[in-house]
Symmetry: C2
Subunit: 320 residues, 2 copies
């Protein structure tokens, strides 16, 4: 089943979100508008807005309230990707040139700042102090995570804990916040929105680990960027870390360096695939997925809960 089919009952609301996303990206500056629209139109799964909406279904769901939050969370995600691509020197994302590639690093920096500020404008419509606190705390953690990612680049002696801490900050916390803030916007009671937060956190971890696996096993046309990009950029993810446990592999993998070409990494990708590291990474992802599904069991039964379960399973096990 395709991801979009899982939440087809939300279709009309998702369309509202898409329209609102485009409407929001308007600027007095043509350059900013073009760079932001470029990022928006490169696509994406819109997972965060979907989680916002589904979490809202556990309370008093009003699309006019929910849409601001859903769009804000997607914009924050977009802004972080634009800055991320600067750090990673990434030229492609989702098969499209990145803002830093199409324009430059400076434009990318301010496009990120601009899109983030637009998100804050939308969030300001939500009169729930708690939601703003959660979002701000998340943003602090996200930036700390980004700096850790810079620091840990090409650092082959890091361990799995470093990696997990990094993806928690980089991905899981914002998905967790999407679930919780979506719930708070719909006045969901605290015991429930806290569970939704934990659900989002576990799903987010599973999601990122899967993403990191796909970077090694998926094809370039599925990824929208060359396979092995993470490792080439010096980002040591779960598959590489598991493969590094073997001393012979370690010698090979530590040869990866900043100036390395895409073609030269093929043998290392093969080595990682043959090492059993992919299977170990899938297991790791599955452990988080199980935790996410276990928390869902504690939530009241409704259509949103069933959908969250489908999505969690999908994104934890997706092929691209």
């Amino acid at each position: 089943m395709k991801l979009k089919m899982m939440y087809s009952f939300l279709n009309s609301d998702i369309n509202i979100i898409e329209k609102k996303l485009e409407e929001t990206i308007q600027a007095d500056s043509l350059l900013l508008k073009q760079a932001s629209l470029h990022t928006l139109q490169a696509g994406g799964k819109r997972i965060r807005p979907v989680f916002v909406l589904l979490a809202g279904k556990f309370g008093h769901y009003d699309i006019n309230v929910m849409k601001n939050v859903a769009v804000a969370l997607e914009l924050i995600h977009m802004a972080s990707l634009v800055h991320d691509d600067v750090i990673d020197d990434a030229d492609l994302r989702r098969g499209q040139p990145t803002v830093k590639a199409k324009w430059d690093n400076k434009i990318a920096m301010y496009t990120g700042d601009f899109v983030f500020a637009l998100a804050l404008e939308l969030m300001a419509n939500l009169d729930r102090a708690e939601a703003h606190k959660i979002l701000a705390d998340t943003m602090v953690e996200v930036t700390v995570g980004e700096i850790q990612q810079i620091r840990d680049k090409y650092r082959f002696n890091q361990n799995l804990r470093d990696y997990l801490r990094r993806i928690k900050r980089k991905t899981a916390l914002l998905i967790a916040a999407s679930c919780q803030i979506g719930a708070i916007a719909a006045d969901v009671e605290e015991a429930i929105h806290r569970k939704l937060y934990r659900f989002g956190y576990y799903v987010g971890m599973s999601y990122q680990i899967t993403d990191d696996i796909l970077d090694f096993v998926a094809k370039e046309e599925e990824l929208g960027k060359p396979a092995g990009s993470d490792l080439l950029q010096g980002n040591i993810t779960a598959p590489a870390l598991f493969a590094l446990e073997n001393a012979a592999n370690r010698i090979e993998i530590e040869k990866v360096h900043e100036k390395m070409e895409s073609a030269d990494i093929q043998s290392i990708i093969t080595l990682i695939k043959q090492s059993g590291a992919i299977e170990k990474s899938v297991e790791l992802s599955d452990r988080y997925l199980s935790k996410a599904l276990a928390i869902l069991e504690e939530l009241p039964a409704n259509k949103a809960k069933k959908t969250l379960k489908d999505i969690a399973r999908f994104i934890g096990r997706r092929k691209f």
Copy 2:
């Protein structure tokens, strides 16, 4: 009279702000902490916190509420400077190496993001939806202003209106927001906080024009960076624009380009000084200053009002 003497009755609260600034800049990442502290300790006039506090004096002033807002506004200013130095390729600010010079552009980008997120965390303590809306709107305008500054670099056919629109976004709006949000945090009535906003806007314009004048007339040791830095970086400010009105000057000034050295700009600085452009810029600054002072007259009489008047006069006419 020195600036600090003008608000000496706020001294104990200013000390609280300084302490809170240092406390806030704590991070799980040593690198982020060092880069942020470096920026903080480079100093600055702390004009925005002072405006926040003084605006609060028109209402129910509680330092425990005010300090979060005051520190948040200073951090937002700091964050924007860190990103600004990336755009300007600036190596020095306030006589200290910039974050981008001491580390690099990428670290500077995330240091800015991090400091901005810390500011949002503090702001989240303020349960006033209106204040959040004003701040978010301001941030959108600030980023648009930054992009305009990039677009307008070395664009010698721009006019005074382009410049005024740019400094409004770059400087005046955040000072205006500092005044208004400070007032809202102290439950100042709307008619008054709107006037404080306009006061802040006019003072901010005057302040930035003065800053741009000083870049030509002050000495390197007063500026903490070489004289003529703005023009060298391609930022065409009021003095350059007035000098460009003369065709002979224009030919000389248009010779400024990206690769130009600091020494080569000396003759152009002299030319601008001799053109009467400085006097015209001072007049422009004074016009905004007069508007600021006129609005102050409409505010209830108190110590804060008197102090705002002193500060406005000072920063509109300061020598460095």
